[in-house]
Symmetry: C2
């Protein structure tokens, strides 16, 4: 990493893994219009940790469905934001929040039926074994709690996580988020496994990539067992989002998850990315793989951006913690947050967004594969439902990651008013993860923008 100090004495990262991928850097400021430049300069009040997307940052002021508008009235197609899961500013969510806020917003130490109605409704989407749910405010809080619950139940301390996983920002969760490992100490008992890179393994099946991954997980378990650290389990985003998006065929990773159970570990399914119908094939990412985890964590897509999150659990796994440890999150599950979350569940069902994700996503990937015939930089198109990874390569034969192309492509797309970003260990995978309001009718515009951008880059 390198650092420099700006005019008012603030040290700023200039090139660093903190500013990996899609990031504005201080040296980008010169070419900006005065308003954008002034806003970027005012952000020093937030300190040096904040990251801003794009060399030419975007100022968004309004959103509807999968569309957003900047301060000058330009309209963008949003292929990036999963937090407004049922669409930017969905009127039913807005109305539910406004209505409940004008009544009462208080904590769970008073009785309120809304939190219980929602708890029952949420659990009805999960396997019967998962019969308890605790509410918190963020995915980070949910994973922080889940790691402690899993440790209490197993008596072990050592977790397995994937090599680019990001599970949240608390001290404990950061130490179990290998994507942060260049700047943050990992928990000394954490074991890191590579994801099943379906593109380079050339397989999306349980027998192929799944079997390869089973071996990696088995090795990690064996290492933990021989170390004496005590095996706690596996924390996993089953869409392998920050690892590069490897949905694979349904069932691909089931054997590895079964192995965790066979060795007495618990599985935390971090559903911030694949949950709430995004993959089309199932309501939950774990369900796609035919597996029942012990702990399920969710984040802000649950409330379309209203800060509500949850940890659902098998009763017997939760009990070891919940009956012994003092844990208070009085505001998790307050009536306003729960109203937002209930509206999201209702909209998902009423608008048939899971089924639509399945068909729109398939059409999108077909269109992108067609585009690949004209552009050799498109190495792979993969995904499920409204979650698509478009891997950019420097060379199709060697599958060498096309990091530089991908980062330039982001800027070209931004200039064509399509919002997305990159993921994967080399920042070479375009993350196409729109609000579920993204429609088949939006596909041609995306394809045109990609075609124009790749052509402009000569790739």
């Amino acid at each position: 990493m390198e650092w420099h100090t700006d005019d008012d004495g603030t040290t700023m990262a200039s090139t660093a893994s903190i500013l990996d991928g899609n990031s504005f850097k201080a040296e980008d400021a010169d070419g900006l219009d005065p308003r954008t430049r002034a806003l970027t300069e005012r952000r020093r009040v937030l300190g040096s940790a904040y990251r801003l997307f794009y060399r030419h940052p975007v100022e968004l002021v309004r959103g509807r469905g999968a569309h957003a508008w900047d301060a000058e009235g330009n309209e963008y197609l949003d292929l990036y934001n999963n937090v407004p899961s049922v669409g930017h500013a969905h009127p039913r969510v807005v109305e539910a929040v406004a209505r409940q806020m004008s009544e009462l917003n208080t904590h769970t130490r008073y009785l309120h039926p809304a939190v219980l109605d929602y708890a029952d409704d949420l659990l009805s989407t999960m396997p019967d074994e998962i019969d308890r749910v605790m509410f918190v405010c963020t995915g980070s809080e949910a994973n922080d709690l889940a790691l402690r619950v899993g440790r209490e139940f197993t008596g072990g301390s050592a977790w397995i996580a994937t090599s680019e996983a990001y599970h949240g920002n608390t001290a404990l969760v950061s130490a179990h988020s290998p994507s942060l490992r260049n700047g943050e100490e990992m928990d000394p008992t954490l074991r890191i496994v590579d994801p099943p890179d379906t593109y380079r393994l050339g397989s999306e099946t349980a027998d192929g990539a799944g079997s390869w991954w089973l071996t990696r997980v088995a090795e990690a378990i064996a290492e933990i067992e021989s170390s004496g650290d005590g095996f706690a389990g596996l924390i996993l985003d089953s869409s392998f989002s920050s690892d590069g998006i490897f949905l694979g065929e349904p069932g691909m990773i089931r054997a590895a998850l079964d192995l965790v159970h066979a060795h007495g570990g618990v599985v935390i399914a971090d559903e911030v990315q694949p949950g709430f119908g995004r993959t089309g094939e199932a309501f939950w990412g774990f369900d796609r793989h035919g597996f029942v985890p012990d702990l399920v964590t969710t984040g802000k897509p649950m409330g379309n951006g209203f800060p509500i999150a949850a940890m659902a659990a098998r009763r017997e796994v939760l009990d070891a913690f919940a009956t012994r440890r003092p844990y208070f999150n009085t505001f998790g599950g307050n009536p306003v947050a729960v109203s937002a979350a209930q509206a999201v569940l209702d909209v998902l069902r009423d608008e048939g967004l899971q089924a639509r994700a399945l068909s729109v996503g398939a059409q999108l990937r077909d269109a992108l594969r067609d585009l690949g015939h004209a552009h050799p930089a498109i190495g792979d198109v993969r995904g499920s439902g409204q979650y698509t990874g478009l891997e950019i390569v420097a060379d199709r034969e060697t599958k060498e990651p096309g990091t530089g192309i991908a980062l330039d492509l982001l800027e070209e797309l931004r200039d064509r008013r399509v919002l997305t970003s990159v993921c994967g260990p080399n920042n070479s995978v375009l993350k196409l993860r729109p609000p579920l309001a993204f429609e088949a009718g939006d596909i041609p515009r995306l394809v045109e923008a990609l075609d124009g951008s790749l052509t402009a880059l000569g790739v």
Copy 2:
């Protein structure tokens, strides 16, 4: 602790420090009306960690100002809830949230002026030295971050906290919250100091209770320095809320905080309780004591219950962390959260709530002291602004804590439709911490309810 298992196999705490003080217990269910009983039974879906206030729980459905209504339409006077800081369901906060939610709710990786306008406004309420602010979603996230920032800056790991302090629910913050120490392992480097109990020390001054506390802090620093753990600093709620509410005279604890600085430690001012004008005498608790901390953390009162929180910082203290560590809380500071927080600041100013807190609080304590002439169980009335501790004693001479009386008193007050709770190491201090909308006109009703309750208890 003792445990029992209820009908469906859930283990429930029966008598335990987790259920300290004001808590519904399973054995209280028999006497409840059918609806209340059904709701308490449905709560098993939330697992065993959730706590419910009162032997006879309250189902709140509506709130306005410092008043709330239950499902049967009964009106309650709210002396407990600081989270709806400017009043339950304040229309300006509701309107601000609804308006911004209907426009856009996205993260800080796009530009938006609202977060910068609010950052500037918030910092304008603090001393000039504190010139950076990071936004998160909860007070727990703010303290989790602050502990790490302080460690990075000092290179030390050992903090000091007070003996009943509660700073939040993440793994790291729980381990620095001595109020949880019966169920949760404390960080092995944490040093715990008793609070300046102004009642038992018989002093509220810098020379008296402040000097006593200075000695306690000095002893803790000396112990850390001789241990080689490395001194990180002190994390403090300057109102000593869960310790029993010891505001003391302005300046009382300044010498101890200066000593932390003199030994190279940082001070984290956890302002969830005393901040945003509650004490009347200053906008921030630390300011009351004439001290400038290094890190200032806030919680949900900042957004009147909308989940927004912040960590403000001296630039040089933050920089050590923010330039080296990857920290993402993209949703902290989103435009909706910031709109809620801006509305709260605006209402605080426009309605003159800090000045009113000063006068209403003083009138309240005068009235409570008068009531003490008739009820020997009132041992002490203390506080500042809209934060009052009413300590119940079994014996005024010996100042023996009146825990049993205090817990019975809560139920009597609840039946007279006054909501409050208890704090302090013996759960003997009534925590009178209403929304700042509490008015002088509400005082006679509170006094009458207290008089009737204490008379009914014969104390």
